[in-house]
């Protein structure tokens, strides 16, 4: 709820306090922030962490044009027209990103992808995409962060460093809070950090286990064996994991003795050799543990609304990421329809990049191909991706200028309470404009095509053939 207190001087910008504002920088989506807003600037962000403060205090209105076409200022309407032309003329358009915008925008974006038969993928594919594959293979024993707060007495972080990536995770959800069944807070909880390096999170742990690099899979199967009471050779375990068998046995004993255990895992599992096989092993271990006590497993999601992206793409297509809509129905195949692969193989001939920065984060072959094709980019700030875009939209920032809904990392939808207006349009407005224009172009194509019985307009190929 926002309350407005008029300032004494008429000359001064309006001073406003926004209570319970939502931070959308990371997957914690903290919705208890108190913002002090002076005109078009946030001057204080109470209760925000170091990342949240940087998020709120550095998103004053950008003075770049709202639209650039080939680096030259253009009207938003011209940008929408050019974007619609690029997408409808493309034979293999790629839509990518979506994790730093509202679910409302994500929904419209997927509609556009459907209209133009695009390959739609989100930043999940280079984050917890392998976890998504593992969920489908093994299943997910899960819970909300509220349950962790109230019940969790054995908290294990595996390949995750929330002290740097999700700074309020410990205090708001997982370690410090005094909960219904953990009335003494931190004293009632055991914290274990398992990682290849001694991260800042390791300093918080009661037990830190330093793994041999790239041995997560072996370590997880060691624990699965111990959970099942299988005898293991100490020398082999040490050689495989870099950790003594006695350490693993001690951990398993503590896990079995706990009342409510939680694994939080990060990209230490999903980005390392083994990827979804690592995550499958962890999910299977979690399932095994439920023969002894209650245990759950949660990915520590990174971007503010990456969980929303998974949800929206799944509502609209049946699959969470890496979906190809070219045939008029969704096909899901990580490795084939995921953005990094589609670009690195040189397949996409146009792209629309929404709220992400693949020009900074993708492999060199993928980046080089993206640079070579016409693409549209949306971002509140200038990034390597917007710099190389044929059409670059500067958009209002979600949660600061734009209302809407985001999903916390535990799939809880949370409303946004914006702090001040911005003269840049929201990505939702632009996406709605592009969708409307794409529909018009398609309708014209259908009218002019007597053979166009398909929902998609026939397009002439370079060799004279017809593509649907």
């Amino acid at each position: 709820m926002a309350t407005v207190t008029p300032d004494a001087s008429q000359q001064e910008p309006e001073l406003k306090i926004v209570e319970d504002a939502t931070c959308t920088f990371c997957g914690c989506v903290c919705d208890d922030i108190e913002l002090t807003v002076k005109g078009h600037e946030i001057t204080q962000a109470k209760r925000a962490c170091v990342l949240g403060k940087a998020w709120f205090l550095n998103h004053s209105v950008d003075d770049r044009p709202s639209c650039l076409i080939k680096g030259q200022p253009a009207s938003v309407e011209e940008g929408i027209e050019r974007a619609a032309q690029i997408l409808t003329q493309s034979r293999y358009p790629l839509m990518y990103g979506l994790s730093d915008t509202t679910t409302e925008s994500q929904r419209v974006a997927v509609s556009i992808a459907d209209w133009v038969g695009a390959n739609v993928d989100t930043t999940t594919s280079v984050c917890h995409g392998p976890s998504g594959m593992a969920f489908q293979g093994v299943g997910e024993v899960t819970c909300s962060l509220g349950e962790v707060r109230n019940r969790g007495d054995m908290i294990i972080f595996w390949g995750s460093n929330p002290a740097e990536s999700h700074p309020r995770h410990f205090t708001r959800y997982s370690l410090m809070p005094k909960g219904m069944f953990v009335p003494n807070g931190r004293k009632d909880r055991t914290c274990v950090v398992i990682d290849v390096r001694k991260t800042k999170s390791a300093n918080t742990a009661d037990i830190f286990i330093q793994l041999k690099p790239r041995s997560d899979f072996e370590a997880l199967w060691t624990l699965r064996a111990l959970c099942a009471g299988v005898e293991l050779e100490a020398e082999q375990v040490l050689a495989d994991t870099g950790v003594e068998l006695a350490v693993w046995q001690d951990l398993m004993d503590r896990m079995k003795d706990s009342r409510f255990g939680v694994f939080f895992f990060g990209m230490g599992l999903t980005m390392t050799r083994g990827k979804h096989a690592n995550t499958e092993a962890l999910l299977a271990l979690t399932r095994d543990m439920n023969q002894h006590t209650r245990f759950v497993c949660k990915p520590n999601r990174g971007h503010g609304n990456v969980t929303g992206a998974d949800n929206v793409v799944a509502w609209r297509t049946g699959y969470p990421f890496g979906v190809n809509l070219a045939r008029g129905y969704p096909r899901f195949n990580p490795g084939e329809y995921t953005a990094s692969d589609v670009l690195a193989r040189g397949e996409a001939d146009a792209a629309i990049i929404i709220a992400s920065d693949p020009m900074a984060n993708f492999s060199e072959p993928a980046r080089q191909h993206l640079k070579s094709i016409p693409y549209i980019a949306f971002d509140p700030k200038e990034t390597p991706t917007t710099r190389n875009a044929e059409v670059a939209f500067t958009v209002a920032t979600y949660g600061i200028n734009v209302p809407g809904t985001v999903y916390r990392m535990d799939d809880i939808p949370i409303p946004l309470r914006p702090a001040f207006d911005c003269h840049h349009p929201s990505d939702l407005e632009i996406l709605q404009g592009i969708e409307a224009r794409v529909q018009e172009i398609r309708a014209q194509g259908l009218v002019s095509s007597e053979e166009g019985s398909s929902l998609r307009p026939a397009r002439e190929l370079a060799d004279g053939g017809i593509a649907e």
Binding site: R197, K198, A360, N361
Partner: protein, 118 residues
């Protein structure tokens, strides 16, 4: 045959702060442009803070400044870098059917250089 190290790109809070300030600003650029090296490895290669090294993977090569890791943070043979342009240049495109390039645990070699080429 050069010694092989294992490179772990990852998030840091300074990198996150830098993203918010702007990716072309000092905080972000300085955070992604430095390689953390274990103390033992610094000593073995005769490296001091702010020296430059050439790091080579199967997929690319970078020249980058080093800083010593805090005591105990990295075991010998392990390198750390904040995600960004430099780490991406060392990453391969193959996702092994997962959609995810192998972005952590990359085999690299490292040699001391007098100064960067450019």
């Amino acid at each position: 045959m050069s010694k092989t190290y294992i490179l772990i790109p990852g998030r840091t809070s300074q990198q996150g702060v830098g993203i918010n300030e702007g990716k072309f600003e000092e905080t972000y650029q300085s955070e992604i442009s430095v390689l953390q090296v274990a103390l033992d490895d610094m000593e073995e290669l005769g490296l001091e803070a702010n020296d430059f090294v050439r790091v080579t993977s199967e997929h690319g090569e970078i020249e980058i400044k080093v800083k010593p890791a805090k005591k105990g943070e990295l075991p010998a043979g392990l390198l750390f870098i904040a995600y960004g342009d430099y780490s991406s240049r060392l990453m391969g495109a193959d996702t092994h059917g997962s959609g995810m390039p192998t972005s952590k645990g990359i085999d690299v070699t490292m040699e001391k250089i007098a100064a960067p080429s450019e």
